[in-house]
Structure formats: structure tokens, C-alpha cells
């Protein structure tokens, strides 16, 4: 039987170099562990040292073990062995940054009280030295009475020594931390007696110190009502005797005493390169300018660099579908594989370039320290809509695609701000809306209009998102997500060179998380929509639609090459498109569209438009292809809609124009209908990928359902108002 690995918890402040150290310890043998109900993710990795197996748990970066939210409580519970099915760690490795030792050791002093052996990894000794801070590891170990290992991951130094120190520390008695005044222990003991022996002493101390914290919420809810009174009285007695910030004064006092011999600091803080960079990057003019350049580059790269890769993926899947099409007998199974599964998988994979590029950018910006500056610069603007500076980048990247944008909200620690950002991100006008806008602007707002009308309309459509998103966020923060304004206390870390390895791992994690967790839901919905459009396959006992279409396809192939053959080919193709249109119009989805027609009428839509909108539930751009099919011009490629030379796109435009003009009721209001559709698609959440990612990031079904519902209601009302106003205006003009 293999022995169980020794469990190590890796704990440190954000920016301590914890992730880099984790990657160095565990290599690529890592996996992500999820916790139900909370949005934290913890990675675990493994390594072997001196014939023993070790398991490392990478805890989320934190400044203290005073939990303020369920998310922060997960880490504390894990360290105390209070999580079901998870053994208490055998040992803690605290990661501390030498250039800011006091602040980093604050967390360490709390770790010393958990009753577990502790080893300390000191990072950035070199960069501390450049600012005149010299740390003597041997003297530090003597002062703190804890094993100390200096590590320098980029140079590959200290990893082996750290592993050896871990092996030595395992099984050793727990070290001693700061000693609190005797009355703290007395108060804690009397609270402990009321709570019972099952509550760890560490949590009783947290209960005493953390006013309004998560420990208080959990223990008071479980305890007797008079406990709240006893707790308040105990806190009052301690405050009266010792004054404010007792915990911080004791801990920092202890740290300064323990490190005084080991650390030499310059008398005055020297002006470092990082400080000088900070001056430029947060400068009124230069800082703002550089910020816009960085944002533009990021934005441009998601759009431009991702496009060729996305085209390649698209072409690859189309080719694959054709190969399968050619090598299988016709029928429902072939259609399921080519139109359902291969298209479905393709529609998932197509997001990867954007996700990888955005996360590459975010990882670099975060690792080098610029991310916090971006949030610092934008905080005042974002606060106007009830959010904070950290919401800016997720919302901006949602303009390319909401999927990576929503994943990028992980940088927002405050739960309410993060949820508000997630819920409004899909309102930002993403690139999938572009084919829809292009189709209707090209069809109804180009010929016979002034040259600036198409451009202005497109701009207006983008503005719909830019304006609705912040207003919605503000409303949400005032209603559903109301709460006191969170303290925006953010560390502005020293600038440093980003680690390529860390960046690559971040990109891979993001890609994998999307494929595995969101991909399945996207694929499932694609298959459902496929089935609703495929069945029933016939109206009468005659030949089924797919079989008839197959027969025509064979005839098209049989047409010999030549000038007049083209005519025959075109006739067959028209017949095929007509048949496909009949089939889809009679499909279950078509029937649903027809049944729902009364609901579409106030928007200026007929059942065909409604059916196309329903079919585009998996993704907005599907609307274009569906329109092509139900208007009998065949499947139109959403990417080709802006191309004036594309026959199918031109055919679709012509047939939309003529069909809408012929309509006796809607005929004169074609432009109003076009606007109504565009507004609908600007505001709706017809995107399974977005919903799947919201589900994944919030770990709940209620947020995706809420997002879909409010956006659909908003879209419907917006489309209704647009059509009615447009109609009124056209009537007045005539």
C-alpha cells in the first residue's frame, strides 16, 4: 500500500511570489480543486523528495487569517482541518517577501498559532538588497525560531533546500508566536467554555478580534443568542484596557523584536526604480497616456491576433465536417455528427484564441505590477457605476467577447462587485454582434441613405452597450447587490519582470477551465438546437426532406462542366435551398416560432424572425445563417456578411428586402424592424458560452438564469420601444 503523501499548505500574501514557488515545487503535476458554494480555486501539486511523496496545496493569497467572507473562510477551515473529506495539512510553508518583511510576517505570526510545524521561504532577497534592505537568513531563523530558506525561483536557487527543510520540519513541534496579554487568554477561555470544545482555540481568538468577520457570522448563528452579548462585552473590556488595534500592535511588536538582529534597513526609504516607474505610470498626463496605449494594445490583440487563429479553427472544423460528410451514409446520425457535434465542438474551441491572448495579457500585467495601477487609475470612473477600478479590464475585454471578460473578473476580490461586473459584462457590445449589425445595416440602412448613416448606426449600437452596462451595474449595486461600499485598500506592488512560466501556466489554466467546464454545456445546447431544427424530417409519408436534399445534391454533382450546365446547376441549387427552407420552417423550432408569433408582433417581427432569434440562442451570429436557411438562400457564413462579393450574403440581403417590402403590414416599416432586431441583439443574452461561463465562475445556476432573464426582458422591451417609436416616426414623416 502506498504511504499517504505529506500535506503541505503554501500560504502567503498576494505578490509574495507564492504561485511561482508553487510551480517550481510541483512542476506540471498540478490540478485545480474546487469548493462548492464559493468561488475560490485551490491548486494542488505533488513532488517527491528523499523517497517521500509530498502534496502541496496552494492557498489563495491573503494578508491575514481574519476571514471576512465565506471564500476567505475556506482557507482557514482547510488549515484547521475543518473541511469534510480533507485531512488537516501536516505542515505550513509561509512565503514572505524580503523587501517588505514586517508586513509579510504579520500573516506568518497567525500561522504560528495553528499548532502545525512551519517553514518560511523568503523570496526577493536580491531585489530587497537593491533597495538597501539586507536580510540575514540565519539570524532570522534564530530570531523567529522557525526554519528559514531563502529562495530565488528564476535563478533556480533554494528549491532543493526548501524541500529538505520541509522534510526536516515534518513532525516537529509547532513553533511559538507572539504572546498576547493575559486577559486576552482569559476572555478567550470563557468564550471557549460557552462555545464548547469542538470550536478550535484559533477560531475563538478570531471571534474575539474580528469585529463583523466571517467567524462571528458562523459561530453566532450556531450558538446561543446571549453569546453575541458576551462577545460584545468581552471586546469592550479588551478595548478599554488595551486601546485600538491590539492584535496588530502585538504582532508587529513581536515581529520587530524578532527580526531586529537579522534585518538592516536604510534610515530613509531610498527612491527605487520601481518608485520612479510608479511616478511615470500614475502621472496625470504620461500615466493616462500609457494606460490608453496599454488598453488599446490589449484590445487590439484580442481582436486582431485572435482573428486569424479563429478563422483557422473555423476552417479546420468545417473541413473536418466535410470529410465526415463525405465518408458517412446520409441520415440523422451524420447530421448529428457534422451539424450538431462537430459544429458544437468548433463553437467551443473557437473562443480559445481570445481567452489565451487576454489571459496572457492579464498575467503579464498582473505579474509585473501594472494591473493594480490600472485599477488605481480607473477607480474613480468605475466608482460612479458602483464598481471599483478592478472592474475596468473585465468590462473592456467584454467588448471583444464576454467569455474571457467574465473569466477576468477573478481579479475582483469583493464578491458583490465581482457579481455585478459578471452580470453586466454581456451587455458590452461583443464581436459576435457584429455580423448581426452588418446584415441589417447593409440591407436596410445603406442604399439610399447618406454616407455617414451606416457608420453612425454601428457606433450607436456599440453605445447602447457602453451606456446600458454601467447603468445596470449601478441599479444592481443599489438593489440586489446592495451593501456597504467595500474598502478599496489595494496594494500597489513593486514593479518586477514578469515570469514567462507563470504567464504560460495562467494561460493554460484559463483555457483548460473554459474547455472542460463551460464546453460541455455549450455542446449540449448546440445539440438540442440542432435536434429542434432537424426534426421532424418529413411532412407526409413521402420522401423525407434530408433524403430529397441528398438526391438533389447528387444531381448537382452529376451536372457536367460547361457554360449552359451552370444554369441547370443554379436551378437545382435553388430547388435545394427551397426544400431546406421548407424543412426548417416545419421543424419543431419553426413551429415554436409560429406559435409564439403574437409575442413577436409588437416588436415588428414575423414568426420567421422570431424563429431565427430562437435558433440563435447558442450564439448571436447564428442568426445570420438561420436567416439564410429560412429565406431559402442556403446557409450564409456569418463572417462573409460584410463582403459585397459574397453571393449568398447578397442573396440574403436581396431576399430580406423584397420579402419585407411585400409584407402589407410591415412593408413600410422595414427600417424600424431592422432597428428593433439590432436593439434586441444588442441587449439580449443569446450566447450559451456566456451563460456557461457565468455558471462556472459563480458556481451557481441562479446567476446565469438571472442574467439571461433580465437581458431578455431588457432586449424585448428595448426592441418593442424601438419598433413602436420607429413606426410612429415613419407614420409622421409620411
Amino acid at each position: 500500500m502506498p504511504e499517504t503523501p505529506i500535506r503541505i499548505a503554501l500560504v502567503g500574501n498576494p505578490n509574495a511570489g507564492k504561485s511561482t514557488l508553487f510551480n517550481a515545487l510541483s512542476g506540471l503535476r498540478q490540478h485545480v480543486a474546487n469548493y462548492p458554494g464559493v468561488t475560490v480555486e485551490m491548486k494542488t501539486g505533488r513532488f517527491r523528495h528523499a523517497d517521500r511523496d509530498y502534496e502541496v496545496i496552494d492557498l489563495p493569497g491573503t494578508y491575514s487569517l481574519a476571514p471576512r467572507s465565506p471564500d476567505e473562510m475556506v482557507a482557514v477551515d482547510l488549515l484547521l482541518g475543518r473541511r469534510k473529506g480533507e485531512a488537516k495539512p501536516d505542515l505550513i510553508v509561509a512565503v514572505v517577501d524580503a523587501s517588505n518583511l514586517d508586513r509579510h510576517l504579520y500573516l506568518t505570526t497567525q500561522l504560528l498559532e495553528l499548532g502545525l510545524p512551519v517553514a518560511i521561504a523568503v523570496t526577493m532577497i536580491d531585489s530587497a538588497a537593491t533597495r538597501g534592505i539586507v536580510v540575514d537568513a540565519v539570524k532570522l531563523a534564530i530570531g523567529l525560531k522557525v526554519p528559514i530558506v531563502p529562495v530565488n525561483v528564476p535563478a533556480g536557487l533554494g528549491i532543493v533546500e526548501l524541500k529538505a527543510a520541509i522534510a526536516n520540519a515534518h513532525g516537529q513541534p509547532a513553533p511559538c508566536g507572539p504572546v498576547f496579554p493575559a486577559d486576552v487568554a482569559t476572555e478567550a477561555q470563557s468564550l471557549q467554555a460557552k462555545l464548547g470544545p469542538t470550536v478550535p482555540a484559533f477560531l475563538v481568538q478570531r471571534l474575539l478580534f474580528d469585529v463583523g468577520g466571517q467567524t462571528e457570522r458562523e459561530l453566532l448563528a450556531a450558538g446561543k443568542p446571549e453569546l453575541a452579548f458576551d462577545l460584545a462585552a468581552a471586546r469592550q473590556r479588551l478595548e478599554a484596557t488595551h486601546g485600538p488595534a491590539l492584535e496588530a500592535r502585538i504582532r508587529y511588536g513581536w515581529i520587530r523584536k524578532a527580526t531586529v538582529a537579522a534585518v538592516t534597513k536604510p534610515k530613509t526609504r531610498p527612491v527605487t526604480l520601481s518608485d520612479k516607474l510608479d511616478r511615470v505610470l500614475t502621472h496625470r498626463i504620461w500615466g493616462t497616456l500609457i494606460f490608453f496605449v496599454v488598453m488599446f494594445l490589449m484590445f487590439q490583440s484580442i481582436f486582431v491576433w485572435a482573428t486569424p487563429l479563429m478563422d483557422l479553427i473555423d476552417a479546420g472544423f468545417t473541413w473536418f465536417a466535410e470529410v465526415v460528410q463525405g465518408s458517412m451514409p446520409p441520415g440523422a446520425l451524420r447530421s448529428l455528427i457534422t451539424d450538431g457535434i462537430i459544429k458544437g465542438v468548433g463553437s467551443v474551441v473557437i473562443f480559445l484564441p481570445q481567452i489565451l491572448i487576454l489571459f496572457g495579457f492579464i498575467a503579464v500585467l498582473e505579474d509585473c505590477g501594472y494591473m493594480a495601477r490600472a485599477a488605481y487609475l480607473m477607480d474613480k470612473i468605475m466608482r460612479r457605476c458602483g464598481l471599483n477600478g478592478k472592474s475596468f479590464i473585465p468590462l473592456l475585454s467584454s467588448t471583444a467577447c464576454a467569455v474571457p471578460g467574465i473569466m477576468a473578473t477573478r481579479v475582483i476580490e469583493n464578491r458583490r462587485d465581482r457579481l455585478a461586473t459578471i452580470v453586466v459584462a454581456p451587455l458590452m457590445s461583443c464581436s459576435a454582434r457584429l455580423p448581426v449589425y452588418a446584415l441589417f445595416i447593409g440591407t436596410f440602412l445603406s442604399d439610399g441613405f447618406a454616407w455617414w448613416v451606416p457608420g453612425l448606426t454601428l457606433f450607436a449600437m456599440y453605445m447602447v452597450g457602453f451606456l446600458t452596462a454601467p447603468i445596470t451595474a449601478l441599479i444592481l449595486k443599489r438593489t440586489l447587490l446592495r451593501g456597504e461600499t467595500p474598502l478599496f485598500l489595494m496594494e500597489l506592488p513593486n514593479f518586477k519582470r514578469p515570469s514567462l512560466r507563470a504567464v504560460l501556466i495562467r494561460m493554460l489554466d484559463a483555457g483548460r477551465a473554459f474547455l472542460v467546464r463551460a464546453g460541455t454545456m455549450i455542446l449540449a445546447s448546440m445539440i438540442v438546437i440542432w435536434a429542434l431544427l432537424y426534426f421532424p424530417t418529413s411532412q407526409s409519408p413521402k420522401l423525407s426532406y434530408p433524403e430529397q436534399i441528398e438526391r438533389i445534391a447528387a444531381e448537382i454533382d452529376a451536372v457536367p462542366e460547361g457554360a449552359e450546365a451552370d444554369e441547370a446547376k443554379k436551378a437545382f441549387e435553388a430547388q435545394r435551398d427551397q426544400l431546406t427552407g421548407d424543412w426548417k420552417r416545419n421543424s419543431y423550432l419553426g413551429r415554436v416560432g409560429r406559435a409564439l408569433e403574437p409575442a413577436f408582433v409588437p416588436l415588428g417581427w414575423d414568426w420567421k424572425i422570431g424563429m431565427a432569434a430562437l435558433a440563435s440562442f447558442p450564439a448571436r451570429e447564428v442568426l445570420v445563417g438561420t436567416f439564410g436557411i429560412i429565406y431559402d438562400v442556403g446557409d450564409v457564413d456569418a463572417g462573409a456578411i460584410g463582403d459585397p462579393k459574397d453571393d449568398k450574403a447578397n442573396g440574403l440581403r436581396a431576399s430580406l428586402q423584397s420579402e419585407w417590402q411585400r409584407d402589407p403590414v410591415r412593408g413600410p416599416y422595414a427600417v424600424a424592424t431592422a432597428f428593433s432586431i439590432m436593439i434586441f441583439f444588442a441587449l439580449c443574452c443569446q450566447c450559451v458560452s456566456t451563460l456557461a461561463v457565468i455558471r462556472r465562475e459563480t458556481r451557481s445556476w441562479s446567476w446565469p438564469i438571472f442574467t439571461f432573464t433580465y437581458m431578455t426582458v431588457l432586449a424585448y422591451l428595448g426592441a418593442w420601444a424601438t419598433y413602436q417609436l420607429g413606426k410612429l416616426w415613419i407614420d409622421t414623416m409620411n
Binding site: 488595534a245 477607480d379 485598500l489
Partner: protein, 80 residues
């Protein structure tokens, strides 16, 4: 005076932190509690938030929160 009134480039000693207990505790964890030195490093281009330095850590703090921190100005740390 309160921290939001401290001119850029000046240092001060923290006298007291008003406001709710969570704010005081989070600031204390970062080393910002009565008796400690604090420097007003800069202000964001839009005038808010502030960038402060506490014991070598650069922190961003909104003006509204800084107004809850009472300080005693010490000296200009940056004579330039």
C-alpha cells in the same frame, strides 16, 4: 488633520483611525495603526484614490477612507 489633507510627499504619524471596525482592522493588518508613520506618495490622475506608503508597502486608498485617518504631519520625506 486627516490623511486626505496631507500634501503629496509629506509623512505623518497616525493618531487614530475612525470608521467601522473592519476598516480599522484591514488597515492595521497592513501596518497602518496609531503610532505608525505614513507617507502620501501621490494621487491618481482623476484626483482619487491616493497612493500611500506604510512601512515600505504602497497602498491605494480612497479619499473617503483616508478622511477617517487622523494624522500628525512629521516632515517632507521628499525634498525635491
Amino acid at each position: 488633520m486627516t490623511l486626505d489633507q496631507l500634501p503629496v510627499g509629506f509623512s505623518a504619524v497616525v493618531l487614530s483611525v475612525a470608521g467601522n471596525a473592519t476598516l480599522a482592522q484591514r488597515l492595521a493588518e497592513q501596518g497602518l495603526f496609531p503610532g505608525e508613520m505614513i507617507e502620501h506618495f501621490g494621487t491618481a490622475p482623476l484626483g482619487d484614490p491616493l497612493e500611500i506608503v506604510v512601512g515600505g508597502t504602497h497602498l491605494s486608498l480612497r479619499k473617503a477612507d483616508a478622511a477617517l485617518i487622523h494624522v500628525q504631519p512629521a516632515s517632507s520625506s521628499d525634498p525635491s
